[in-house]
Subunit: 214 residues, 2 copies
Amino acid sequence: MNNHSELFWQHYAISRLDRTALLNQEPSVLWFTGLSGAGKTTLANCLAKRLYDGGLLAYVLDGDNLRHGLNRDLDFSVAARHENVRRMAEVASLMYDAGLITLAACISPFKAERDFARSLVPAGKFVEVFVDTPLSLCEQRDNKGLYRRARAGEIVNFTGIDSPFERPVEPEITINTTGRSPGQCIDTIMDYLSRHDLIAAARPGRLTEKTQNA
Amino acid sequence: MNNHSELFWQHYAISRLDRTALLNQEPSVLWFTGLSGAGKTTLANCLAKRLYDGGLLAYVLDGDNLRHGLNRDLDFSVAARHENVRRMAEVASLMYDAGLITLAACISPFKAERDFARSLVPAGKFVEVFVDTPLSLCEQRDNKGLYRRARAGEIVNFTGIDSPFERPVEPEITINTTGRSPGQCIDTIMDYLSRHDLIAAARPGRLTEKTQNA
């Protein structure tokens, strides 16, 4: 329906590159994928804090929270879950375009969904972060009580129980959370971002270093 | 469907206020409403440029452009047009939350739609900008050839022709574009934003002034 002849493309006076220059940071999309309870949102939030402390503007898009607003019309049918991920991917690309380091936390169990999200962002600016917490541990935690209900048949199409999770084949980052603190996991991500020029070394740190050397 | 018991609200480590402090600017939503061809997108773009030149981070959300991405599943039926506006309002509120001065350009012909967009943003941070260009002038311009096609019956439910435009009752700003340049219209908006503490007086200007006074 998007080839409707009423559709025009409006050009913008200020581009992403202008915003990048203004913010003095490189926008990117970090896409956290993994089972329910794997720790996606926890890690995204810890990362947002770490980036903020480094003077960087990040924004967390959380699948649960979007369902209270943009995606409130969607239920948990297979089609609606796909649409949920599609919209999150589209919003992530808008946030990217706005200049932000965008942290999307979304089960996104299917490779095609994650590949779609990736397709909306220039190569190298999309970072798939696989939060690889074993099902057994997620189920043991069961913070939201959802696994118990899925096992009891009260929830159907639940990822990991009666709906598949397609493990990422080549994610940029795989986080094994078992026995590691959120801070340690964030170190791994920060290291990746730094090595790939997606963040400069944290600015306050650099300034401190210079001061110390002076 | 949003009261589904699988839904949780995730709390964020970094808040809008933190981002406001980091950016050193007040986020807001400027909602440009008016007929097709009234000049909404032109004004939003000019304003983005003016804000950028003042060192402020703004982002233009354009109805036409969203239909190439987030809203590509929507056609031009009455229900789909409502959904189009609803989603733009939700994305505008996310952009607001992210800390941006968000410029949404969207015909949004119905009061209820605009009131919904307003309801998502704290009082005083939503600025309804009515781009009050007469139908006759919009139709005379007809940049996209849509009025001609609507008159010919090739497009139905076209705002101003066979679908109503409910004029804003108490918009924060009304822009009469007739005989005025975009720059003059932007002056009006900048003046409003400044008087309502939504922007500080443009920073480079202040700096220049200080330099001149020194």
